[in-house]
C-alpha cells in the first residue's frame, strides 16, 4: 500500500500481487494540506496523518481501519501555554513510529523545528522539552527566522532499532542532532557536512539536511541528502563523508529525498535537482532522473528509463519511498501530481497515478 499526502488531501493506493495494478482510495480530507501519512509497522493497524487546513491550526488525525474513518487527536502537538518564547506550532510535517519495543510511541517533527512525542498512538502529544527547551535551541534553530519557504522544520526523526533512547533528528535549517538519553540532552552531529551558504561553511550547526536515513540492518550507518550534497556517516565516528562527490559533475548532488534498500545497506536512491543559480529545484537540465548507488556512494548509476525526456517538477523531501518486495519497488511523487513507480529497483519507470495535487509525501506500508 502507498500512502500519499498532497496539498489538497490524501490518497491510499493498493497494489495487486505483482504491483502492476494500483487501486486508489481518495481523496481523504479533500482540500486539507496533508504533510505526511504513515501506517504503524508494529501493529499494521494504526495510521496517523499530519494535517493543516488552510488557515486553521495544525492537527493529527488517526485511523484504525485502514483509512476508512478518522478521529482527530485529543491533544495535537502543541507547545505549553505560556511558552517562554511564545511559540506555536505552525504545522506538523513529519511522523515517525517509535521503537518496536514501545508500541504506541510516535514522534512528530514540526515547524518551527521542534519535536513532540505521543505514548498513546497519537491521541495525546507532549513536547520533547529536552530538545524544544534546550538552552541552545533558539541558536540551533535560528528562531524566529524562517529559513525555508514553508517554514523551518524538524524532520527525519530516527529511532535506533537497537536502543529506543538513541534518537536522531534533522533541522532545516539547523543540522543533524543526536540524543542518547531518550531526548533529554542533545548534541549537534554535523562535522564534515558543509553549510556553504554561510561565511564559515564548516560549522558545528546551521547546516540544512533535507533528509536523513539510518539503515535498520546496519544502524551505525547514516545517509543524508543535504542542501550541500549527499553524505554518509559510519558511527561511532562522527564525521560526514561527501559521497555526492562521486556523482556526475553536470548533475551534481543536490536534492531532497534519499531512500535506502531495505536489505542492502550499500544501496541508496536519490532524485537530483538543479541547485544552481536561483535554485529552480527542477531536475538538472529539465531531465528527470533517479540515481542509485550499490556501493555506499563510491559510484552512482543513472536510472531514467521510462521517465520523460523533459519535465519541470520537483520531488519533495518526503515524496520518495521504497517497498519491501524483491526486487524492491521504488516510488516518487512530483509537485505536478504524478506518482511514478519502478518494480525493478529503478531499472524502469512508469506512472501509476496522474493529475493529483502537489505531492508532499509518499510512504509504503505492508498492509
Amino acid at each position: 500500500m502507498l500512502l500519499i499526502g498532497t496539498r489538497k488531501g490524501a490518497w491510499l493506493l493498493r497494489a495487486d500481487a505483482d504491483r502492476r495494478s494500483w487501486t486508489p482510495t481518495g481523496p481523504i480530507f479533500l482540500g486539507q494540506i496533508i504533510q505526511h501519512v504513515v501506517l504503524d509497522p508494529r501493529d499494521h493497524t494504526t495510521m496517523l496523518m499530519a494535517s493543516r487546513t488552510g488557515h486553521l491550526g495544525p492537527t493529527v488525525f488517526r485511523s484504525t481501519d485502514m483509512g476508512a474513518t478518522w478521529t482527530e487527536a485529543t491533544r495535537p502537538p502543541a507547545f505549553a501555554e505560556g511558552d517562554a518564547l511564545e511559540r506555536s506550532v505552525g504545522s506538523v510535517v513529519w511522523l515517525s513510529p517509535g521503537h518496536s519495543d514501545e508500541p504506541g510511541v510516535w514522534y512528530a517533527g514540526a515547524s518551527p523545528q521542534c519535536l513532540f512525542r505521543t505514548e498513546d498512538s497519537g491521541d495525546t502529544w507532549e513536547p520533547v522539552t529536552g530538545f524544544n527547551d534546550h538552552p541552545m535551541w533558539q541558536t540551533w534553530a535560528d528562531y524566529p527566522e524562517d529559513q525555508t519557504p514553508d517554514g523551518s522544520m524538524l524532520h527525519s526523526v530516527i529511532v535506533d532499532p537497537r536502543d529506543p533512547n538513541h534518537l536522531y533528528v534533522g533541522l532545516s535549517g539547523g543540522g543533524v542532532f543526536e540524543s542518547v538519553d531518550r531526548g533529554a540532552e542533545w548534541a549537534p552531529l554535523n562535522a564534515g557536512s558543509k553549510a556553504d551558504f554561510f561565511p564559515d561553511p564548516d560549522r558545528e550547526f546551521g547546516q540544512d539536511p533535507h533528509t536523513v536515513r539510518l539503515h535498520p540492518l546496519r544502524p551505525d550507518r547514516l545517509y543524508q541528502q543535504n542542501h550541500c550534497g549527499i553524505y554518509k556517516m559510519e558511527r561511532p565516528d562522527g564525521k560526514w563523508e561527501r559521497i555526492g562527490d562521486n556523482m556526475p559533475r553536470d548533475v551534481g548532488d543536490i536534492g531532497f529525498p534519499i531512500e535506502l534498500h531495505p536489505r542492502d545497506p550499500d544501496t541508496a536512491w536519490v532524485f537530483p535537482m538543479d541547485g544552481t543559480d536561483v535554485w529552480p529545484r527542477t531536475s538538472p537540465d529539465g531531465k528527470p532522473c533517479v540515481y542509485v548507488t550499490r556501493d555506499a556512494g563510491a559510484s552512482w548509476t543513472r536510472q531514467d528509463n521510462g521517465l520523460p525526456d523533459r519535465a519541470w517538477y520537483t520531488v519533495k523531501r518526503q515524496a520518495m519511498t521504497v517497498d519491501s518486495s524483491d526486487p524492491v519497488g521504488v516510488y516518487f511523487g512530483t509537485t505536478s501530481g504524478e506518482l511514478w513507480a519502478s518494480d525493478d529497483e529503478g531499472g524502469s519507470w512508469r506512472p501509476i497515478m496522474e493529475h493529483l495535487p502537489e505531492i508532499y509525501s509518499v510512504e509504503h506500508a505492508d498492509a
Binding site: T53, G54, H55, L56, G57, T59, E72, A73, T74, P76, A78, F79, A80, E81, G82, D83, E86, R87, S88, V89
Partner: protein, 86 residues
C-alpha cells in the same frame, strides 16, 4: 448566544452553520464551544491564546482580535476564516 461557524469548521458541528454558545468574553465563548465541539478551539486559537492569522471574530458588526473582549448573551458572534490561497 448565537455563533456563526465558517464552512472549514463545520466538520466539528455536524455541518451546522449556527450553534449556541455561552461566555462573558470571546475566550470564554471559544472554550465553551471547545467543550461542545472538541478540538475546534485549537484550529482557531494557537497555544499562546492568539487568534490565528487570517481568523477573525466578529461581535455583531465589530471585528475583534482581543480574546478578552466582553460579550453579551444578546450578541451575535461570527467566526470567520479567510479563504485566501490557492
Amino acid at each position: 448566544m448565537r455563533v456563526r461557524i465558517p464552512t472549514p469548521l463545520r466538520s466539528y458541528t455536524d455541518q451546522r452553520a449556527w450553534v449556541e454558545g455561552k461566555g462573558t468574553t470571546v475566550d470564554e465563548l471559544l472554550r465553551d464551544l471547545d467543550r461542545a465541539y472538541p478540538g475546534m478551539r485549537f484550529r482557531i486559537v494557537d497555544e499562546q491564546g492568539r487568534l490565528r492569522k487570517h481568523m477573525k471574530v466578529w461581535i455583531n458588526a465589530d471585528a475583534v482580535r482581543d480574546l478578552s473582549t466582553p460579550i453579551d448573551a444578546s450578541d451575535e458572534v461570527t467566526i470567520m476564516q479567510a479563504l485566501s490561497g490557492g
